[in-house]
């Protein structure tokens, strides 16, 4: 886990969640800017996943490695999954799904950080 990436991902996903909530209340469907935002977020998450996976393979792994890897996989799958949702639902509920996913993403990053550095 790269600390500054974790922080950046959390800030970015919370910002995305806020933005998508505003879009929901403005009755907008998912638009290209949302997709670009999710793309950037996804790249950040993939970067973090690759760095963490490299560390795990290199021997620097948390105590509950299986748990950590499964959380990591979920986090990587989350942004494309909610983008697909945004394509299916061409109404204000598309951004609502993305907002929810971004909040879950921020929580999952906290959980990953706890697994990586358990506070005993």
């Amino acid at each position: 886990m790269v600390d500054w990436l974790t922080m950046t991902i959390q800030m970015a996903s919370l910002a995305m969640a806020g933005w998508c909530l505003v879009s929901t209340f403005r009755d907008q469907p998912m638009l290209v800017p949302h997709l670009v935002g999710m793309g950037v977020l996804w790249l950040l998450v993939i970067g973090q996943a690759v760095a963490s996976a490299a560390a795990v393979v290199g021997g620097d792994r948390p105590a509950e490695a299986a748990m950590f890897v499964s959380y990591l996989a979920t986090v990587v799958l989350l942004p494309p999954a909610c983008a697909v949702w945004g394509f299916m639902e061409r109404s204000k509920w598309g951004p609502a799904v993305i907002a929810f996913a971004c909040l879950v993403l921020a929580v999952l990053m906290v959980r990953l950080e706890q697994l990586w550095n358990p506070v005993a």
Binding site: C82, E89, S91, W93, F100
Partner: protein, 148 residues
């Protein structure tokens, strides 16, 4: 009873329904994964609590599929799943508060879902509200009652 897709059936999974399906899927995954992992690694500590998490995950999955599929049968299934969920979160929530020794480790439904910002408590209510709303529009449409 054929699982035919009437216009109202389609509205079950569009709009707010789509958001509900997303939230239910995430909770299905979270509860099932957490419960199975705990059952596999720490079965001896609190088997009842872990089994309960898996069961809760299964109910969430049934509700998610029921909401996502178009059809009257699916709607009934989703309605039942949401009802079971509401009963479960209230029962397990009260048990965890009044009989703390019964479940040594936390489940999704412990303390009314406080570990998950009370989403497990709100979710079945929203689910029931949405299904009943769609059900009502479907029933009020003329001729809709013929197709059962």
């Amino acid at each position: 009873m054929p699982d035919t897709a009437t216009p109202a059936d389609r509205t079950l999974r569009t709009g707010p329904g789509r958001l509900l399906v997303a939230v239910y899927s995430v909770f299905a995954l979270a509860a099932t994964a957490r419960g199975s992992y705990q059952l596999a690694t720490r079965f001896g500590e609190a088997p009842l609590a872990y089994a309960l998490s898996v069961a809760a995950g299964a109910v969430y999955l049934v509700a998610a599929v029921g909401l996502a599929r178009a059809g009257r049968v699916s709607r009934t299934v989703a309605l039942a799943a949401c009802g079971v969920e509401l009963a479960g979160v209230l029962l397990v929530g009260s048990l965890s508060v009044f009989v703390p020794g019964l479940l040594p480790d936390d489940t999704v439904w412990s303390r009314f879902g406080s570990g998950y910002v009370f989403v497990p408590l709100v979710l079945p209510v929203l689910g029931l509200w949405w299904i009943l709303r769609v059900h009502r529009t479907d029933r009020d449409r003329p001729g809709a009652g013929d197709r059962t």
